[in-house]
């Protein structure tokens, strides 16, 4: 205990040096907090927005999976609604929806145009509950799907010059590759800030089934559980059902590009943490080394009075820990303060950037938000402590190696 009292006294002895060391920790912890909050926020938003549209788990034909890049409409799941019903009945808490997605050309005049949209056909429930398209309406109202009304993403509306009430003709393909036109009226325009919604046209499942010429079938059955993080357990439950025996049950974590992205957040956080620990530890090492040099004689006397090597090390490390605790708390506060605008207002990278990016199934928004959690703050605090211990350890060893006689002679 007396070692800590000694450490506290040393912290107070040289206020300028303590402030310098603490400032290093404060900046390190704050930077870590801001970087982590932004990183986690961006990725979690992508996961949340994407899984809302692609499901926590999906059921597809195995051949569809093999050639998914080509979107083979003929590799569909037959009796998709029956499979969805079976899943909902047998897997408690699950919600399942048949869905068909396909690229279509949007006709602007009498020539099949160059405006392409991803068209999604599903149930009204999917549109409302999962796509949350009602919340994303920026013009018009909710479609009467049975009357052939559709929703169109704002980007497509802009590109094709469509307004609420416009007649739209889309040219897709049947499962055999024949040109398949679909006509309808634009009931509403939706905007989500990401191409997964803004570059889409939404229509009823029946309309899509007609367009693709796949009666009662769907390309995918999307399933949602209570928690997106339990997708793999949900997939295991669904795999046991007889109705999906010849099909593939795939959690979103195994789908490209998410399979490779899920580990990236943690890895990037670790890399940022390591870099900050290294840089800050260097600064702390520098100030602590100075401290050891200045107090060589004092250490010599203490060593002569019986201070052991381990106690000498502990004394300097404890001093660093005290500074790290103070710096860490302030760093957490500063990091939270700096993160706040990113959490509440976000940062807009511009929709033009997304237009040029192939984001695939990722629902990446132009508006990027940070996410700050207590867990993240504790990680920041831990990083601060690690910085201090790592930075003080070598100078502490140096202090412990001082021989009392040499120190009192004025050398060591």
């Amino acid at each position: 205990m007396w070692i800590f009292k000694l450490a506290l006294r040393n912290v107070r002895r040289n206020g300028r040096r303590t402030a310098l060391t603490a400032a290093t920790v404060i900046i390190g912890v704050a930077l870590f907090t801001v970087a982590s909050a932004f990183l986690v926020g961006v990725f979690e938003n992508i996961y949340a927005d994407s899984t809302a549209l692609i499901g926590h788990v999906r059921v597809v034909d195995p051949d569809f999976l093999e050639r998914e890049q080509l979107n083979p409409l003929y590799e569909y799941v037959p009796d998709a609604q029956a499979i969805a019903d079976d899943i909902e009945q047998n897997v408690p808490g699950s919600h399942a929806y048949p869905i068909i997605k396909s690229g279509m050309a949007v006709s602007v005049d009498d020539t099949i145009g160059d405006v392409f949209a991803i068209t999604t056909g599903s149930t009204d429930a999917w549109m409302r509950d999962r796509g949350t398209l009602e919340d994303k309406l920026v013009a018009g109202g909710w479609p009467d799907w049975d009357a052939g009304e559709m929703l169109v993403g704002q980007r497509i509306a802009q590109m094709a010059g469509l307004e609420v009430g416009s007649q739209i003709v889309l040219f897709g393909q049947t499962q055999d590759g024949a040109i398949s036109p679909v006509g309808g009226t634009i009931a509403g325009i939706v905007y989500a800030g990401n191409p997964m919604v803004d570059k889409q046209v939404f229509m009823s499942l029946a309309t899509m089934q007609y367009a693709a010429d796949i009666d009662d079938g769907a390309l995918e059955v999307l399933i949602y559980g209570d928690d997106v993080d339990n997708a793999e357990a949900l997939a295991d439950q669904i795999s046991g059902l007889a109705s999906v025996t010849d099909l593939v049950v795939e959690p979103w974590t195994q789908r490209s590009p998410f399979d490779s992205m899920v580990g990236i957040t943690a890895a990037m956080q670790a890399v940022i943490g390591l870099i900050l620990v290294f840089i800050t530890a260097l600064a702390i090492w520098n100030t602590m080394t100075m401290s050891v040099l200045e107090r060589t004689s004092e250490i010599g006397v203490m060593r002569a009075m019986g201070l052991g090597r381990a106690q000498a090390v502990l004394m300097f490390v404890a001093e660093a820990v005290v500074i790290a605790v103070i710096g860490g708390v302030i760093g957490m506060a500063l990091g939270s303060l700096l993160s706040w605008p990113l959490v509440h207002w976000g940062y807009n990278i511009g929709s033009d950037v997304l237009d040029d990016m192939d984001v695939g199934e990722m629902a990446m928004s132009a508006q990027l938000y940070a996410k700050l959690t207590p867990d993240m703050l504790f990680k920041g605090f831990f990083v601060g402590l690690t910085m201090a211990i790592a930075g003080s350890f070598i100078p502490s060893l140096r202090a412990a190696s001082i021989r009392p006689v040499d120190a009192m002679k004025g050398g060591h």
Binding site: A105, F171, Q173
Partner: protein, 256 residues
């Protein structure tokens, strides 16, 4: 037009009968130009109407379409689907190298252009580009008459055409022309890479009342679509029909 080559075959056959019935007995070695000239010359028929069935088969399912077609000369033709119900009333109009389709489900006329031209008509192995591309092969290709060979137990001239420019859909065509009827019984169509992308066979060649020969069956195989083929059978053919001017107009396309 879907049946462009069919008419080419028919008119070539007519020309053969008119000009030289001795082809089969004493085949002289024709020049490539004379063969290609026969193609081009004989495309200029008067008018005709036909009823056809088209079977489009893939490893997954087989679909059958019935249609009526009208044609005038080499550059004007129409097609109207009679069945199945999903396609009924869909009409196509070709004028020269331009093509439009009328889609009854959306009551709309659309011009087929750009990448759509490379798609198969009704999902068949016959692309819109096949139907609209010019048959003025003398301008587009350099030809070599390789010799004679037997195809379907009949003597044929083997002609190899190589595209003069790289923008031609098929960089190379190998054509087996029936020595007697001058019908191109078998065609192999190659991409620039040298890959054979399609074969186009004409068979069931019958003499018509006016003396010309006519292939009542065509089979097209897109070699890039494994296990698929398209067979077009002419079930009724009438030559010299009276056609109103409006038949080959956008107005007709829309109103039928």
């Amino acid at each position: 037009m879907l049946t462009r080559r069919l008419f080419l075959a028919a008119t070539v056959a007519l020309a053969t009968l008119v000009s030289s019935p001795a082809w089969a007995d004493e085949p002289e070695l024709p020049t490539v130009d004379s063969l290609l000239n026969a193609f081009e010359t004989n495309l200029n028929f008067e008018t005709r109407s036909a009823t056809m069935t088209m079977t489009v088969a893939s490893p997954r399912r087989t679909r059958e379409y019935s249609m009526t077609t009208f044609g005038r000369g080499a550059d004007e033709s129409t097609i109207e689907y009679l069945s199945p119900a999903r396609e009924r009333g869909t009409r196509y109009l070709r004028k020269g190298e331009e093509m439009w389709m009328y889609l009854p489900s959306v009551e709309r006329v659309q011009k087929i252009s750009g990448h759509m031209l490379r798609q198969g008509m009704a999902g068949s192995d016959v692309s819109y580009e096949d139907m609209t591309s010019t048959t003025e092969w003398q301008d587009a290709y350099d030809g070599v008459l390789v010799g004679q060979e037997v195809w379907d137990e009949r003597p044929h001239w083997r002609v190899e055409l190589t595209a003069k420019t790289s923008d031609i859909t098929y960089a190379k065509r190998v054509i087996l022309v029936d020595v007697e009827t001058l019908i191109p019984s078998h065609q192999e169509l190659y991409a620039l890479s040298g890959l054979m992308v399609k074969t186009w066979d004409m068979s069931d060649v019958r003499p018509l009342e006016d003396g010309r020969h006519y292939p009542f069956r065509m089979r097209i195989e897109d070699k890039l679509k494994e296990g698929s083929y398209t067979e077009i059978v002419t079930t009724e053919l009438v030559l010299g029909v009276e056609l109103e001017e409006e038949v080959f107009s956008l107005r007709w396309l829309e109103r039928g």
